[in-house]
Symmetry: C2
Subunit: 337 residues, 2 copies
């Protein structure tokens, strides 16, 4: 997407360096961070300089290419795999990188790695655009969308997943209004989604996560669209903590609830949502905001990073191949086609 | 409740001054604020130095007594009524104060006002204790309770509403664990509930509001108890924004959802939840935390302070007269008895 007058993706390579928009500093500062080797790139993924399933996938691919160039492919791949446990795209990207360099050595391996990483990154750009095109049919002129966390271009290199249909609708001349859940504890909605929407000139309001049900109950929400970190074979999905709450509320209020995700987020080896490993994150994300303690001094917090939304709450999954229902046969079918 | 070695209520009078624990400074500072006349007391209610239905009621009563002592009863009562639109107790307390001084003048009015205000405050202390006693039957040893916002003693002078059963259970020797929703935007859960629970030695963890559904889905929550700002005749209730979300999630997961409130919170003139006026608060409560902007600079927020939970999600209302079902005949019956 265009920031200022320049086109950016969330992550990109420059020679042996991996560059990222530092998402920990947004929206207050738009700053490019540089990571000179695969250790640094792995650390950046872990510390969420880059986040969002697709952008994590792309970052892992570029990090893997760095590892190959450094002659440390095997160990480097493992280090990258151990950064975040929930996002399917991380594993998918590393698997692709492993396959690309398998049986190759020296310069041949390096060239193959660089090429594959660029292709992985490019696939997110293209798939985001296609998700936007397919998903935009759900958005009539004046549609009011509720989204959770950030599943925009920062999370998937360019167009995004959940926000791509909104960006596409806008380019087709349709007005869309977005309720952006602020998304505690890390506030990706208030910080990143709001920043993206403002940058794209899309009308929106930030709400506390607690207020989503209120607006659904009032009849002010036409549709919910969220991203996913992993989609199981049965259509259950893992996504940012709180997604399950919004899905239950949408069902209760008769509001269609859609998940937008590229096929790379679907994990056919994962039977059901309960099998997805949920990342437990540091309690300080809940207890502090920007270094300042907001909670009672003597209290502790629990901080699960994701939750699982069972397939029965999901009306459809918007993929680059079209919108499918969260059913095992349709999910498998889209890979067989 | 005891803080340090001294017994406190949320609000109390000292001569013509109204004193309050400054709840905007908790949990970081425990400081007593003083308000010399009814203007100052009204401003303190509006700015949430004191909050919570019962404590607002008590503060309004003491403020009304100040107005009578200043010879400005009529105007003063009106000023106090205009501070917060949702809490039933504010209106209930002022109505009682009006009745108490009606037809009286001079010293007689002043004495009646002071006496009535003390009785109103005392009724919250006693009713909180009774709510605790009645509600504690719902809490077996080891019970895991989820609560939202703060409906403890800070919100109702002494025992509280939603937290009173937990305090009572503890005194009876039962261990209770509490999930405290942090309760954005003002974080009353992370600040006040966590502070109260720590002060009383009750095991608890703070969670982002988004994580409540996750723990309910996991089977980690035995019961939800929340307070209320107003209860309608049909059993619908208004409470802190996000309460509706938790109620829907509790129902979906087969978890009993209870509302704790004194009869003074029940508004028989209010037919149903949809008739309750919901306070729209300043967007800066969402966009800033402790003076620091957390959200995107160019974005705006919506900030409803309360939501309505329909009676069908509520298993029971814990009152000083016992636990009643949220049905018109039971609600009316408890007043007729």
């Amino acid at each position: 997407m265009i920031v200022g007058k320049k086109w950016f993706t969330a992550v990109w390579p420059e020679g042996r360096t991996v560059k990222m928009i530092d998402q920990t500093l947004l929206p207050h500062k738009f700053r490019i961070a540089s990571f000179k080797n695969h250790h640094e790139t792995a650390k950046a993924i872990k510390e969420m300089v880059v986040r969002g399933a697709g952008s994590i996938g792309a970052a892992a691919a570029f990090g893997a290419a760095q590892a190959v160039m450094e002659g440390k492919a095997t160990k480097g791949f493992e280090e990258l795999l151990n950064t975040r446990p929930t996002a399917r795209d991380l594993f998918w990207a590393i698997e692709r990188m492993e396959k690309a360099v398998k049986g190759k050595d020296g310069k041949e391996a390096k060239l193959a790695a660089v090429k594959e990483a660029r292709e992985i990154s490019g696939s997110y750009v293209e798939n985001g655009r296609l998700i936007g095109e397919h998903g935009s049919v759900l958005l009539h002129d004046g549609a009011r969308v509720l989204t959770h966390c950030n599943a925009g271009w920062l999370a998937m290199q360019d167009w995004g997943s959940a926000l791509a249909p909104i960006y596409w609708a806008k380019r087709e001349g349709n007005r869309v209004f977005v309720f952006a859940d602020e998304t505690r504890p890390r506030l990706q909605g208030a910080r990143l989604t709001a920043w993206e929407l403002a940058n794209e000139g899309i009308e929106h309001k930030i709400i506390a996560d607690n207020a989503a049900g209120y607006y659904m109950q009032k009849g002010d929400v036409d549709i919910c669209i969220v991203g996913a970190d992993r989609v199981a074979r049965n259509g259950d999905i893992a996504n940012k903590i709180g997604t399950y709450e919004k899905a239950v509320l949408a069902k209760e209020n008769g509001i269609p609830f859609y998940v937008a995700a590229p096929l790379s987020t679907i994990d056919l080896k994962c039977k059901k949502g309960a099998d997805i490993k949920i990342e437990e994150r540091d309690e300080r994300e809940v207890l502090f905001i920007e270094g300042k303690r907001i909670a009672n001094e003597k209290s502790h917090a629990l901080n699960p990073g994701f939750d699982v939304t069972p397939a029965r709450y999901i009306k459809g999954i918007i993929t680059e191949e079209g919108i499918i229902r969260p059913k095992p046969d349709e999910i498998k079918g889209v890979f067989d086609a």
